[in-house]
Symmetry: C2
DNA sequence: TAGACGTAGA
DNA sequence: TCTACGTCTA
């Protein structure tokens, strides 16, 4: 049980390979992949600007993120999208959403982790998918008339294939 | 990131020594010390009866558990004791509380883990304190007139000292 | 102090 | 489905 406290950064993490799997979000933090225990979008400040460092696309939360060959459409955060108790609101271009927009504008790499539900529903299976770039983003109006941000990311070519 | 799924049992855990420290509750689960990610009392069914396997006494949650030389007074679970939103209710002799009561009656060992707040407030420091036996339990009436269970446990002699 | 794509078991 | 001594950042 060694004490872990990794500095988060943009880009690949030394020692972590595409396809590496983890069981808990605390493990993602321990190895330096994703710092936030409950947030999908992790980001850091460089000077006065936020950039995304990593996103985890966990299935089964009502976000309906779509993984396709080399692409990913990812739903922004905020607006109580997955809350059962709180009222849905418009998502805003702040926090993680703003960080992803900045990553697009400045062509910063984003680590992508996919979280899959396990058949035994004990923990998840978090798989490191590699580095992506944000291609564009837009807003959609969801069921209850609220604004939701969508980010399209493409996988940077030349990385090991996902089996 | 090897997949972990340990069978929980009563008594000491092979390979775990008094004083071993951990950072997250998911680690406690991984090594077989404490299965529940957010509950203080872990227990298992033997035949038709529940017995406690381990308790974590985390500081800073308004439970006011007391560690003394060889003794521990532990607050039972339930009743929304630490909830800020929900109304406080009477604790009942069920779930983990019932398991601890059975551990007293049948003299079953209980693993004790102490969770301390860290100065940097990142993670906790969970320390394995060794095996205890429940000496007795009682109820108290707390501030808002609600029933709270208290369990007194003593540390089984002959174990390595806690430095 | 509150918010956020957490976890497991009853 | 819900509860439960979670865990981090803003």
């Amino acid at each position: 049980g060694k004490r872990v406290n990794v500095e988060m950064r943009i880009g690949s993490v030394p020692g972590i390979k595409v396809g590496d799997e983890f069981q808990y979000k605390t493990q993602l933090r321990a190895v330096g992949l994703h710092s936030k225990p409950m947030c999908g979008i992790d980001y850091m400040k460089v000077g006065d600007m936020k950039f995304a460092t990593s996103i985890t696309a966990s299935e089964g939360y009502g976000y309906n993120d779509k993984f396709d060959s080399g692409f990913l459409v990812y739903t922004g955060e905020g607006g109580n999208v997955i809350s059962k108790e709180k009222k849905t609101e418009n998502q805003k271009l702040n926090k993680g959403n703003l960080a992803l927009a900045n990553s697009l504008r400045y062509k910063k790499e984003v680590r992508v982790i996919r979280g899959e539900e396990r058949w035994d529903r004990k923990g998840k299976r978090y798989t490191y998918f590699g580095l992506y770039l944000v291609e564009n983003y837009w807003t959609e109006i969801k069921d209850r008339g609220k604004v939701v941000y969508k980010f399209k990311l493409f996988r940077i070519p030349g990385q090991p294939p996902l089996t």
